[in-house]
Symmetry: C2
Subunit: 346 residues, 2 copies
């Protein structure tokens, strides 16, 4: 996949206004999504209800975030990519559960690392159940996901999920080392490398395992994987915008988690690359002191949110382009999912 | 598998003397082991040398314990169980690497939970690289193990490894809740439940994936899995003995990790079950205060180490019995491995 972030789009001049945000979830946008997400939720529910074990608290911890909801975006992509090539929904549904379990495992471990307290409107697993149980709950979910694929999938899917897991761990680790305290890593280049692994890889794998389940041809598979990867970039960039955008209005520190944790955030990294050297030093000092108003002013001054939005938009365009010429049965829905990543505000 | 610990062997009277310990590793016991462990080590080495990725420190952390050595016991069992049924060594070697990676992942996460500082004579991964990188290094190794099986193995192996992972997480979690502070869980019954998952399950899976690679029949597979499970129990009981035995001589606190962490330890749990109520209270109070001399006296008074040794011995006997009547090509070696678990002192 090309990474549009490597070169600056010529169109990025002026101050384009951002689109209206949408707090409407995908499932409320159309019946087509609603019925699929319901199907995924029912399958997950069914799996969880028969998935007992001891100690009960380990399973409670493992199920905590899954029950709290979530967008089910990865599962939906797996399902839609299987349907895209005429695959059997009944065959792919257990696979979507595996995708959801793996995704949840990575969130649980991620929250431990980031010391996050809230996720999906509930306390994070380590906050509620303690760090040790949270770590094991993540391991349990990974093992369960692979068990499902072992029972319902193919070796190719396993290899794809294994590769996705490797890249995700690499991305998470790269994220740990990305800090404004280390000038050489706090760059857009490094940031895109990081999210390519941390977010895009897993979306790619979600698309790939759906495509494999549907017996896609190699060319179809490549197109759907390209779609998934681009979607992952757009998704992460939108996340970054949401992190600093809401904050621009109210400087509500609870939403500025990237700044607080001194983690990568595309608007911030962009602003630091284009501002003057004096502003850069001022901004870095402000980050250290926790004076986020100064940081947000520099992000505002250099239109960094609009720049990031345009980049996300170019990934969405690339995602849609990847789908052309294949006559995918769910092409319109996949395109709507891509558009959704740009307007979602949750 | 029957759990011999459920019923007391009649032979457990008097004070049988323990056998001579052996600091000789399996590979030094015979050329047959030496050449196989060399083969496993070479394959692991080859895998690690081509297994690059970024950030480099993540891979360094993931490889740290593997390079420090280890008994390669699980890999050896996988190899011997494949050979037992005439399986192809070249086909099983990559699978042994997967077993080693998974095993290492569980050790890394386990050490985080137990706050252990030393493993295999080197600093633990979280001590050397920090907790966050250690957590991700474990996740990386799990993903790599599954990727290998996806590329080289079969769905049945994945399901087996997934099941092993689930039981291991359950066992680890059960271990967390096993404490002398909670009388209802600090029992031999609970302890055997816990190690059945924490240690035996993984040995079973190591045997199973070897057997599957060698195209074992269902009956052969069951026998080898039974062997692996019994070996796991014997192995863990020997670990427990080593933890309190060396300490009986010198009360060297650094070896009393089970007591220090208030974790399950079979000799301790047995002593607490058979001693008087007064002694039990005295022993529990001593554990809380860290007065380990008192605890070791009670273990000594009730011959708890000898009792544990006899139990381990009965698992070894059961492991060997499971192998009978199949004409396994590596039967003698598998029996020697079983005997080794009783004499090893590392």
């Amino acid at each position: 996949m090309n990474t549009p972030g490597d070169t600056m789009p010529n169109t990025m001049v002026g101050k384009p206004s951002l689109p209206e945000k949408s707090s409407v979830s995908l499932s409320k946008q159309s019946q087509e999504f609603q019925k699929r997400i319901l199907l995924i939720d029912q399958t997950i529910q069914q799996y969880l209800s028969t998935d007992g074990g001891e100690p009960a608290i380990l399973y409670e911890a493992a199920h905590h975030l899954i029950k709290a909801g979530g967008k089910r975006l990865r599962s939906l992509i797996t399902l839609l990519c299987c349907e895209a090539v005429g695959g059997d929904i009944a065959r792919v549904l257990p696979i979507t559960v595996a995708a959801e379990l793996l995704q949840t495992a990575s969130l649980i471990h991620d929250d431990i690392i980031d010391c996050d307290e809230i996720r999906r409107g509930v306390r994070t697993v380590h906050e509620k159940f303690g760090r040790d149980i949270a770590l094991l709950a993540g391991d349990l979910l990974i093992a369960q996901a692979f068990r499902i694929i072992g029972e319902e999938g193919t070796p190719e899917m396993i290899a794809a999920m294994g590769t996705g897991g490797v890249r995700m761990a690499e991305g998470e680790a790269a994220d740990l080392f990305m800090s404004p305290d280390h000038d050489d890593t706090f760059t857009k280049e490094h940031y895109l490398y990081m999210i390519e692994r941390k977010t895009a890889a897993f979306m790619e794998e979600a698309a790939k395992i759906g495509a494999i389940t549907g017996n896609a041809t190699e060319a179809q598979k490549r197109a759907l994987v390209e779609y998934g990867g681009c979607l992952g970039f757009a998704f992460q960039l939108r996340d970054d915008i949401l992190d600093v955008e809401a904050s621009q209005q109210v400087a509500n520190k609870s939403t500025l988690s990237d700044l607080r944790l001194k983690r990568g955030n595309y608007p911030l990294v962009h602003a630091l690359e284009v501002c003057t050297n004096k502003e850069r030093h001022k901004c870095l000092a402000a980050l250290t002191k926790g004076d986020y108003e100064v940081v947000l002013q520099i992000i505002e001054k250099y239109d960094a949110i609009q720049f990031t939005y345009k980049l996300a938009q170019s990934y969405v365009t690339q995602a849609k382009q990847a789908l052309q010429d294949f006559g995918f049965q769910t092409q319109a829905l996949l395109e709507q999912v891509a558009d959704f990543t740009l307007v979602r505000d949750y």
